[in-house]
């Protein structure tokens, strides 16, 4: 094989600490290399053209580019060599930027290391073979996990695009966090007025199948052909016939059930519909509080239900859905602020979270939109907002900024004044992060038009003083201590990854960061893709996001799915395992260890042999390291290719 080597300067990113000309010179001595050069920006158009020209001029059979990580530009250069008529697998990359030039300044050592990496790449390339993808048909249905605003947007866009959509929502209604909000910033328009119709669209769209109160049990398969096992949790109410009339709720004697929708401001009944605009508007029984389910006595709801749909014997049900792509929109949860002892650690009833406050502000909330102190039901006069509770705080393991708390705090301060014109709001803040369109103007309004007292500093202590709470903090701008007699304290609690995010990621085979937020394919260029083909991200599951960003991502993910499904067939990655039938002894160890069931037993002239199903094989290579005699080889990462890299580095 005639090999061409292109060593990229990446401007000064590489050249500053690697002598790329020396690397190219060294490469000229390697077996197979007939052309080697250093170039300023290999990925640029002239850079790529140089590769194409060299392939033609020198009749190259393979190309090595020494530049950045293959995660950045492997696809780019594979297209380049393909453009010049080479098979795209006759290409290798040496990562001399992320793995060399960016991690040390010793030019001699870096150059030396780069030469080694290029040698490895050429030795491997010498053993590369042209690979050709197989085509397979795809199931043009999409699964949306999570029915918050991001999921709703993705579902509607996909459904409008003509795709069949399956939506799975963990709780008994879609709407997510946004459904709990009273108003949204910076327009202060009614949250349910914007979201409600979209929720109804989901319910009514002929292309959307909604499984509420359901969870993902298992995911099998691969891009184009996933098989999903959905667990429909028992609701004890036959939803086919439930009309959502609410009579059961009125009559239910067990009125102390946890009201999660209302953030536990108040209680609800054991059989309940979370809120009047719930989609689907169906009742479900909370078995932890239902006397019938707990003690076998009561049964009132069954008696009063006009459509007779109460079923105390109901069991969880499992449904299998086949889809070709998955959008994950599982959102976020609130940080458990009770770790902060200085805020009372949960002991003071009048210290509440921003989302609880939101429910209190909402006309459809438990207080009917009246701001009342939880302790005595009185209207507060002084309301203190504390920002960055569980954000930007290393001491509680949350060093990141949630990003939207500054804005909703400003909104809540404004709404407080609207609701209680006599009130005075105080906001303790670290910095104001108001980087969206009309955002900064909005916070200014809160300060200037609504007399909110913004105090830059952290609160060091809250303690009860009579029926009030004394909030003590620092004003770092004035350099003084501040004390406020508060009637109500609202904590701007930060966002964290939703409960169960990591377990779901494991089922999806996608990565997540140390906080449990899902990893996007590339921080800049692939914000809604994951590294698992066919799995996309939307909304706050990828990181805290406000509503417009979540909606934007929902649409982006939908666009990706529609793009994926624009073809009838997908090409399978040809970097799959292959069995050398002559050398296979049919012991079946590969079949036993394959996580995908991609290897089957076949009969070959009366002998048992293994055979790889190309379109199912995901290319992990567990079979190859399992087969003692190496009869099954993962193409593009064969034993000989890896051994050649080892030998290129370790020559006795």
């Amino acid at each position: 094989m005639k090999i061409g080597v292109f060593v990229c300067h990446c401007g000064s990113n590489i050249e500053a600490t690697v002598d790329t000309a020396a690397v190219a010179a060294a490469a000229r001595e390697f077996p197979g290399v007939v052309f080697a050069t250093d170039t300023m920006y290999t990925c640029s158009e002239p850079g790529q053209d140089e590769i194409v020209d060299a392939i033609k001029e020198h009749n190259l059979g393979g190309v090595v580019v020494a530049s950045c990580t293959p995660r950045m530009h492997e696809q780019t250069f594979r297209r380049t060599v393909e453009r010049a008529g080479l098979n795209k697998y006759l290409f290798e990359m040496a990562n001399i930027r992320e793995h060399v030039s960016w991690i040390g300044k010793d030019r001699e050592a870096n150059t030396n290391k780069s030469v080694d990496l290029v040698r490895m790449a050429t030795e491997k390339l010498l053993r590369n073979r042209a690979l050709h993808p197989k085509k397979f048909t795809i199931n043009k249905r999409v699964l949306i996990i999570g029915g918050g605003v991001a999921g709703i947007q993705a579902a509607l866009d996909c459904a409008d695009g003509g795709l069949e959509v399956v939506m799975v929502e963990k709780t008994s209604t879609i709407g997510g966090k946004m459904a709990k909000l009273d108003k949204t910033f910076p327009t202060v328009d009614c949250s349910s007025c914007i979201l409600g119709p979209r929720m109804v669209d989901v319910a009514q769209h002929p292309n959307i199948t909604l499984y509420a109160y359901s969870e993902i049990e298992e995911i099998k398969g691969y891009v184009g052909n996933f098989e999903i096992k959905v667990k429909k949790k028992a609701t004890y109410v036959d939803w086919k016939n439930c009309t959502g009339c609410g009579i059961c709720m009125e009559k239910c004697p067990s009125k102390k059930a946890t009201d999660t929708f209302n953030e536990e401001i108040g209680k609800t009944t054991a059989i309940n519909i979370p809120f009047p605009q719930a989609i689907p508007k169906k009742a479900k029984i909370d078995p932890a509080f239902c006397t019938m389910l707990k003690k076998g006595k009561c049964g009132i709801c069954a008696k009063v239900c006009p459509s007779g749909c109460i079923d105390y014997e109901m069991k969880d049900e499992f449904i299998t859905e086949k889809v070709g792509a998955i959008v994950t929109a599982t959102g976020f949860d609130l940080f458990d602020w009770t770790v902060y002892g200085e805020y009372g650690g949960g002991r003071y009833p009048d210290v509440i979270t921003s989302l609880q406050y939101e429910r209190m502000l909402s006309a459809s909330g438990p207080t009917g939109g009246h701001i009342k102190r939880p302790s005595d039901g009185k209207e507060p006069k002084n309301v203190v907002f504390i920002q960055c509770v569980g954000s930007r705080d290393k001491s509680v393991g949350r060093p990141y900024c949630t990003g939207f708390c500054c804005m909703y705090t400003a909104k809540q301060a404004i709404l407080t004044k609207d609701h209680l014109p006599q009130s005075q709001s105080y906001v303790f803040y670290m910095d104001i992060r108001a980087t969206g369109k009309l955002y900064d103007e909005f916070t200014r309004r809160a300060m200037e038009e609504y007399d909110t007292n913004y105090i830059r500093g952290r609160v060091s202590m809250i303690y009860p003083k009579g029926d009030k709470l004394l909030v003590r903090g620092a004003d770092t701008l004035m350099g003084t201590q501040v004390e406020v007699d508060a009637d109500l304290v609202v904590l701007a609690v930060g966002a964290e990854s939703s409960a169960g995010a990591s377990e779901l990621a494991e089922k999806l085979r996608i990565s997540y960061d140390s906080y449990g937020f899902y990893m996007e394919g590339h921080p800049k260029l692939k914000p809604v893709e994951t590294n698992t083909a066919g799995v996309y991200l939307a909304g706050a599951c990828q990181g805290p996001k406000d509503i417009p960003s979540s909606v934007g991502q929902g649409s982006a993910a939908a666009a990706k799915v529609l793009g994926l499904f624009s073809k009838d067939q997908l090409e399978s990655d040809p970097q799959v395992s292959i069995v050398d039938i002559k050398r296979c002894i049919g012991c079946g160890k590969c079949i036993q260890t394959c996580p995908f069931g991609a290897i089957k037993e076949i009969d070959f002239r009366g002998m048992v042999k293994a055979d790889v199903i190309e379109t199912i094989c995901q290319g992990c290579g567990i079979c190859t390291s399992t087969c003692p005699q190496g009869a099954v080889q993962l193409q593009h990462a064969t034993d000989n290719q890896i051994l050649s890299e080892v030998n290129a580095l370790c020559q006795f």
Binding site: G588, Q629, G630, T638, D639, N640, L643
Partner: protein, 319 residues
């Protein structure tokens, strides 16, 4: 042996249904036995079992997979049969197993050492206690217990674990004279660099005949072994100690969790290299980490072909 007749009777009964029964018979001198393939009634008379029945006949089973095969097994050999069944390398319905209570087999290397050299053996009489070998008109009386293979001293399975016919009285739960892996202690006292030197020195005389591999009942790849292939190309054909040692590592690793320590690899070695020890060391780890013993349960899964989400006995490095 008391039950030899009983065994012959069992074989006589089963033979019409079988293509072949594998046992042992006398060999080139009175001190050795050799595998004996019984195909006809008259072959049965030559069958001899006893302390010279050293060969693990399970080695032949995968090669005879399509045949109806009878096999005579010692307790240790039966573990190889179980392992082969477990890995579905042989079919239970095609194998008829004849078990007998084994009181141990000799280690020819020990006899050779005791005699200095084997020479022209005229006779060999083995009783419960002793081995009397007459070489060149001179009689040598050796203690049987000292001539037994190491594996016999720590044997916990003197009776075949699996059998269709069992002749003689089962010995039952034997209390081994020595604990497992006691024989490894001398080696384990060596320093790390000494161990490196030890293996180089021992492997140096390897002639790469692969008798160790071909005698191994679980080296089922045989003709397709990675040792001689170019794709994958793990080893060169050059006579160098690196590749000789590397092969032994490959062998030991491919047997990890599968090896029943029958010792055939070492017995087969024509230049007496202690190759069994590498497998024993590997097995010792398998035992410690996975609490697993190969060749006792046909339904088990070898530990390297399975996993647990949480591994109780693996402590990863804390960086």
């Amino acid at each position: 042996m008391k039950f030899q007749k009983e065994l012959k009777d069992s074989i006589r009964k089963a033979l019409p249904e079988l293509d072949v029964v594998i046992g042992w018979c006398g060999s080139f001198d009175p001190l050795h036995a050799t595998p004996h393939f019984i195909r006809r009634e008259e072959d049965i008379d030559k069958l001899e079992i006893g302390p010279l029945s050293v060969h693990n006949l399970a080695t032949y089973l995968p090669g005879l997979r399509s045949k109806k095969v009878g096999i005579v097994v010692k307790g240790c050999d039966s573990r190889s049969v179980i392992e082969l069944l477990q890995e579905k390398l042989i079919d239970r319905e095609n194998v008829t197993i004849f078990g007998f209570p084994c009181t141990g087999v000799v280690d020819q290397a020990k006899i050779k050492k005791a005699l200095g050299h084997v020479g022209n053996v005229q006779s060999c009489d083995i009783s419960d206690k002793s081995v009397v070998v007459v070489v060149g008109d001179q009689a040598h009386s050796l203690k049987l217990s000292e001539m037994l293979a190491d594996k016999c001293h720590s044997c916990r399975y003197p009776d075949a674990i699996i059998s269709d016919y069992f002749v003689g009285d089962k010995i039952g739960d034997a209390v081994p004279a020595k604990a497992d892996y006691e024989a490894l202690e001398t080696f384990e006292k060596l320093s790390i660099p000494e161990r490196f030197g030890y293996w180089l020195k021992e492997l140096d005389r390897c002639i790469r005949c692969y008798a160790c591999r071909n005698a191994c009942p679980l080296c089922v790849c045989r003709d397709h072994c990675a040792a001689e292939s170019r794709d994958p190309h793990w080893l060169s054909q050059e006579n160098n100690v690196r590749d000789k040692l590397m092969f032994q590592v490959i062998h030991a690793y491919h047997l990890a969790g599968r090896c029943t320590e029958c010792g055939e690899c070492q017995r087969a070695c024509p230049v007496d290299i202690p190759v069994l020890m590498l497998k024993q060391q590997m097995n010792k780890e398998i035992r410690d980490i996975f609490k697993y013993e190969a060749g006792v349960d046909p339904e088990a899964t070898p530990p390297l072909l399975s996993f647990k989400m949480e591994e109780e006995n693996i402590t990863e490095k804390d960086w």
